[in-house]
Symmetry: C2
Subunit: 348 residues, 2 copies
DNA sequence: TCTCGAATTTGGAACGTTCCAATTCATAGA
DNA sequence: TCTATGAATTGGAACGTTCCAAATTCGAGA
C-alpha cells in the first residue's frame, strides 16, 4: 500500500513509471508537469498522486536536452567573505527569487583559475543568466566565451575594459573624491590611499577620485602614500605601518573599502593609536558593520542592496530578450562618523 | 579560417560536430573528453584543436542522463548575510575545490519554502552531495526526500531531531555555559539571553547551557529575561529595551550569536549606555568583526573555517561510499574582550 | 608475407525528457 | 443515429551524451 519513502538507491523513478502507475501516457505526465491547461483536472490529480506516491524527481538535465530553458541563474562572486559582497548577493537573490529563478552562487576568492572553472561548470549546466563580480585579472575574453553562448551577463562592481558588457557599479570616482575632500577640509595635508591594485578598474576609479581631490586642492600626490594590496583586512593592517613609519607620516587615509579600513583600525590599535583622534580613517561601501566599529567608521555609503537588485533586473531584462547593454552607475554618499575625527555623526 | 568566436546564438555545437570536424567518431571525442588513456596522443590533439576552434561546450545534462556522476555539490545556507555563515561557507568551499568538486551555494534566508525550492532544484540537477544549514522550522522529512535519493547529506550548525544525519556543530551547550559562568563570576545576578527561537535546536543548546550555569550557581531562571527573536541585529536591538525597562533590569546578557550582540550594542548606544561599563554583553561565534566593535565583543570562539572543512570532508567521505553518519561536535573557547566589563583582553 | 594480439576506433542502443502530428473521446446539433 | 467540432490524450522522433561489443589498424614475430 505505502510505496512512498522508497528507500535505497533503487533505479531512478521516471516519467514513464509515473505514466504506467497512473494509467496514462508519458506525454500526459509531461503535460501535467508543465501545468498545461490541456489535461483534464481529474487526470491531473491521478498523475499528481502517482508522482507523490512513487517519489518522482524531475530530471532537468533530460528536459534541457530537448528544450533548453533553464530557471537557474549564476552569481559569481569574487569574495563572499567580504560582507559587502554578501549584502550585494542578498539583494540580487531577492529579485531572482520573486521572478521564479533559482540563484546559485559561486565564490572565486579572487582567483581567476577558479573563476574559469566555475564559469565552465555553470555554462555546462545551462544557466539562464549570469551576474559576475570578476576576479582580479579577469580578461574580457574569459567572459566573452560565455557571452558568445548568448547567456545574458551583467558585471557587478567591476567593469571590464573593452567590450561593452552590461554593468552596475557605484560612483567610485565621485565617492572617493568626496571622501578625500572631506579629509582635506578637516585640515589634512598628507593623506594616504590603502588597498586595491592598480590593475583593478575599481581601484583606478577610487584612487583616481582621491587624486583628483588632492590636485584640486593643490596638494601633491605622493606615490609612496598609495599602498597597493589585496582588498582585505591584512592589507589595511600592514598599510598603517608603511605610512606612519616615514619621515613625514601621513595623518589620514582613504581605504579602498571598509574591510581594508577594518584592518587599518586594527593596525592603529596595535600601535596604541585611535582613529579619529590620532589618525583620520575613511572607508568605502558602508557595510552594516561600519557603524559598530571602534570608533564607528566614516565611509562612503553605497546602496548595496539596490545595486544588487538593479543588476538582477538587468539580467532578467536581457533574459526576456532586450539585450542592449546598460552601464548603471549608482549614486553614493559620504557618511561621517567618528573615525575621521569630525565630531558628531551628521550625514552630509 | 578563423571559425573561433562564432558569435550569435546559432545552434549548439555538439560532440558530433567536433567529430566531423576532426575526422573521427563521436565515441572518440567522448573518450578524449574523459581523458581516457585509450586514445592516441595524435588523435587527442586533433580533437582538442577542433573543440577549441568550434567553441564547444560540454553538455553535462546530456552526460548525466546516461551516467550520473556529477561534480557539483550543493551548500544550502540559511543566512548568508551573517558573516559567520559566510566564513563557514568559505571553509567548505576550500575543501571541495581542492577535491575537484564545484560548490554551488544557495541562500534560504531562513525561509523553509525557499529552502524547499532550492533543494528541489539542486536534486533536479543531480548534485553529488549536500551540506545544509537548515532553515528554522525545517522538518526531517523535508530533507529525508533527498536522502532517499542517496545523496550524501551533512547538516551544519543545526541538527535535526529524529533521523540520524551526519552533522557538524560547535559545542553550543558548553560554550554558552562557560560564557554565562564568566558573567556570574563578574558578579552579575540578572542575566538575560537574547535571540533565537525555542524551536531551534541550536537555541535550545545555547540557552540550555545558559540556564544550566544559572542553576549551578543557584540563580533563578527568569523567563522574561529570555528574549526570543530572529538571530539578527534587529532582535538584539529590541531586546535591550525589553530587559532594561523592567522593575529589576538585567545587568548582563548572553546573545544567541554575534550578530544579535551587534544589534544589542546599537541598542545600548541608542540609550546612551556603554557595553562593558553599564551592561555586560557576550556574543557567540567570534566572527572576525567581533574584535573591532565598540567596545570589542567578548564572545564564544568557534573555529568556523575548521568546522566548514570538517563538514566538507564528511560529505566527501560519504560520496566515496562510507555512508555511516557522524555527528561531530567541535570544541569552543571563551574570548574575553571589553564588552563584558572584565578588563584586559586575556583569553581563557 | 602472413598471423596474432594489443592498441585504437567505432556504430548503435540507451538515458529521461519535450514536441509534434495524429488519434481518440465526448458533446452538441442535425 | 450520424457528423462535426473541440477537448484530451498519445506514440514516436528528437536532444547530446556514454557505454558496450564489435570492428579496424598496427607492429612484431614467424
Amino acid at each position: 500500500m505505502n510505496t512512498r519513502e522508497t528507500p535505497g538507491p533503487g533505479p531512478r523513478v521516471t516519467m514513464i513509471d509515473i505514466a504506467r502507475h497512473a494509467g496514462v501516457s508519458k506525454s500526459t505526465v509531461s503535460l501535467v508537469l508543465q501545468a498545461s491547461p490541456l489535461v483534464k483536472a481529474e487526470t491531473r490529480e491521478k498523475v499528481v498522486a502517482s508522482i507523490e506516491q512513487l517519489g518522482y524527481v524531475y530530471n532537468r538535465g533530460a528536459a534541457n536536452l530537448r528544450s533548453a530553458r533553464s530557471n537557474i541563474v549564476g552569481m559569481v562572486i569574487n569574495d563572499l567573505a567580504n560582507p559587502f559582497f554578501a549584502e550585494l548577493a542578498v539583494g540580487m537573490e531577492h529579485v531572482f527569487h520573486t521572478a521564479g529563478y533559482i540563484p546559485f552562487i559561486a565564490n572565486t576568492t579572487e582567483n581567476p583559475k577558479r573563476q574559469a572553472e566555475v564559469l565552465r561548470s555553470m555554462s555546462e549546466h545551462d544557466i539562464a543568466g549570469l551576474i559576475i563580480c570578476p576576479a582580479r585579472g579577469t580578461k574580457p575574453a574569459d567572459i566573452e566565451s560565455l557571452a558568445g553562448l548568448s547567456v545574458p551577463i551583467v558585471l557587478a562592481m567591476r567593469r571590464l575594459a573593452g567590450r561593452k558588457f552590461s554593468s552596475v557599479t557605484p560612483d567610485n570616482l565621485r565617492g572617493a573624491r568626496r571622501a578625500t575632500e572631506h579629509l582635506i577640509a578637516l585640515g589634512h595635508k598628507r593623506i594616504a590611499f590603502f588597498g586595491g591594485y592598480s590593475d583593478m578598474i575599481a581601484q583606478n576609479d577610487r584612487c583616481g577620485g582621491f587624486q583628483a581631490a588632492l590636485i584640486a586642492a593643490g596638494l601633491p600626490i605622493e606615490p609612496d602614500l598609495i599602498i597597493e594590496g589585496p582588498p582585505n583586512r591584512e592589507c589595511g593592517l600592514n598599510a598603517v605601518g608603511r605610512v606612519l613609519d616615514r619621515a613625514e607620516p601621513a595623518t589620514a587615509a582613504l581605504c579602498f573599502n571598509d574591510v581594508v579600513a577594518f584592518g587599518a583600525l586594527s593596525g592603529l590599535e596595535r600601535r596604541g593609536l585611535t582613529a579619529g583622534r590620532d589618525f583620520a580613517l575613511v572607508g568605502f561601501d558602508d557595510v552594516s558593520e561600519a557603524r559598530h566599529t571602534n570608533p564607528p567608521l566614516t565611509t562612503v555609503h553605497v546602496d548595496t542592496a539596490a545595486l544588487g537588485e538593479r543588476a538582477a533586473h538587468q539580467v532578467l531584462r536581457m533574459i526576456h530578450g532586450d539585450t542592449r547593454p546598460e552601464e548603471f552607475v549608482s549614486d553614493v554618499d559620504l557618511v561621517v562618523r567618528a573615525s575621521c575625527g569630525a565630531e558628531g555623526g551628521r550625514r552630509q
